[in-house]
Amino acid sequence: MSKSWDVSEISKWGWSKHPVGAVIPEPATTNRYVTGGWRSLRPILDLEKCVHCFICFIFCPDSSILVENEKMDGFKLEHCKGCGICAQVCPKNAIHMMNEAEALGLEQCLLPDDDKKDKKEDKSA
């Protein structure tokens, strides 16, 4: 389907530009909305272990399990919030959760847990 409704400038729109009744005129526009930034843990797939049973698919709250050619093909990171359900339900332990900052290679990016750890270390020192 052609995505005709461009909302990139919506915060600047005057009142007459909005669809009547604030109807969202096309489906699934959240496909363009990123929730991946909520993630503090990132799922990592071990393809060696994955048996493509799709248990993770049916339990993912964020429709973020990618399937390609009838095979599990990783995660839609734009939308995955890192809840870790997929890792929990995987019968083959093929998914593990990795610190998002680590996954991004950002050693300086301190997550709240790391922050606390640092403070504790400060005290002991």
């Binding site: 389907m1 919506i10 915060s11 729109w13 005057g14 009142w15 007459s16 909005h18 669809p19 009547v20 009744g21 604030a22 109807v23 969202i24 005129p25 096309e26 489906p27």
Partner: protein
């Protein structure tokens, strides 16, 4: 061509609905609206209409189902009264906010407490700022004509707002009156087919209605756009009123004046009281008093400038309200609006408010004349008396 019938108001409404043949009618019975629902149910049972009628379990659900059906792109009508309208309150705002062109008859009845089944306007006047167009009717004929026009007004792309047609409980709803009925085909042609901008049954682009405004803050813009629909409604109501004359010989405007051009004093009324006022005007004119009448049909949108233009030459006017704002000394809603409309006018009449007929209390010609006497005395004495009076209450 036209058929003349003796009809009670509720039957006139049901007959107009039969001719319009809406897709969906969700309804819940309440006195004095009930016979609209009953008559229409019989029409459905007799296959006189194609309507899907939903006998919902409350008025809240009646309007909710109407909202769903209208969002699905169908033409929807319903009817209620009093407590029923009060129960719909939440959904009145949602119907107008979603810009759904629902047409609803409200048979005016007092709001509890104490419980009272008779006519006053406290129900619809309480809903005056819910974003609905409001058209008041003097008799069954006007109620019939208003319903047919309401469909066109509501669905006009410049408007897209729900319309409430008001009819006085019992006084009109249950009284036999002369109604000129149009043939089915001209009505059908007049209302045409609904062309909704969005529909839940759109298979190509399934829309989402009623989304949360979230943290982005577009609510203000959406409400501003809604306000524009109401601003645009005036021109559409005028145009539809003129066009309606083409099929009926009866034209409609925001209000109607009677012997007002050379009048010194005026009565301003809406609903069935206008009939009583007209007789009072005639009798007073016979006595040499220069009195006229302005009958307000369109209360929402409120035709402020037009009213000022029509009344600026008047010395004093008696504004009749069949409900009270119960807000202190400011008077009834018609009075409040009218007084506000005149604020910037250079020439303005002295306005007096008479709150009458609450809970169905009678209003006769003598009482109507008394209002004129009161304002005449007020003017000649030069004494500014209380602007707000209760007419017909036992002191």
């Amino acid at each position: 061509m036209t058929k003349v019938a003796a009809m009670v108001g509720t039957d006139a409404i049901a007959e107009a609905m039969r001719q319009i043949n809406p897709d969906v009618v969700p309804a819940y019975p309440i006195t004095p609206q009930t016979s609209i629902v009953e008559t229409y149910a019989q029409m459905v049972a007799d296959k006189l209409v194609d309507t899907e009628m939903i006998n919902v379990e409350s008025e809240h659900s009646a309007l909710s189902a109407a909202i769903g059906a209208a969002a699905a792109g169908s033409r929807v009508m319903t009817a209620t009264s009093s407590q029923g309208l009060a129960l719909m309150w939440e959904m009145l705002y949602i119907a107008s906010g979603l810009r759904l062109p629902i047409v609803m008859t409200n048979v005016n009845r007092a709001l509890s407490a104490p419980v009272n089944i008779h006519c006053d306007h406290s129900d619809s006047m309480g809903a005056r700022d819910a974003g609905w167009i409001q058209l008041y009717s003097e008799d069954a004929q006007e109620a019939y004509d208003n319903i047919i026009q309401a469909v066109r007004i509501a669905e006009h792309p410049d408007v897209l707002l729900p319309v409430m047609v008001l009819m006085d409980g019992f006084i009109i709803s249950h009284s036999l009156g002369r109604v000129e009925l149009l043939e089915d085909q001209p009505v059908k042609n007049f209302v045409g087919t609904i062309q909704p901008p969005y529909s839940l049954l759109d298979t190509k682009n399934p829309p989402s209605f009623g989304a949360f405004d979230g943290l982005h803050g577009y609510y203000f813009e959406v409400k501003r756009a809604q306000a524009q629909g109401m601003l645009n409604a005036s021109a559409v109501i005028k145009k539809v009123g003129t066009e309606f004359a083409g099929i009926s010989g009866r034209s409609y405007d925001f209000f109607e004046t009677y012997r007002l051009e050379d009048a010194e004093y005026a009565i301003i009324a809406l609903g069935s009281a206008a009939g009583t006022a007209r007789t009072a005007v005639d009798e007073l004119r016979e006595q040499g008093e220069r009195v006229g009448l302005l009958k307000l049909r369109m209360f929402r949108p409120f035709p402020a400038q037009e009213l000022v233009d029509a009344l600026s030459h008047i010395k004093a006017a008696a504004v009749l309200d069949r409900s009270d704002t119960l807000a202190g000394s400011i008077g009834g809603p018609v009075f409040v609006e009218l007084r506000s409309a005149f604020y910037e006018a250079e020439k303005k009449p002295r306005l007096y408010n008479f709150i009458y007929g609450l809970g169905g209390r009678e209003l006769d010609i003598n009482m109507m004349k008394q209002t004129v006497e009161t304002i005449q005395t007020g003017m000649s004495d030069g004494v500014v008396q209380s602007s707000v009076a209760y007419l017909g209450v036992r002191e």
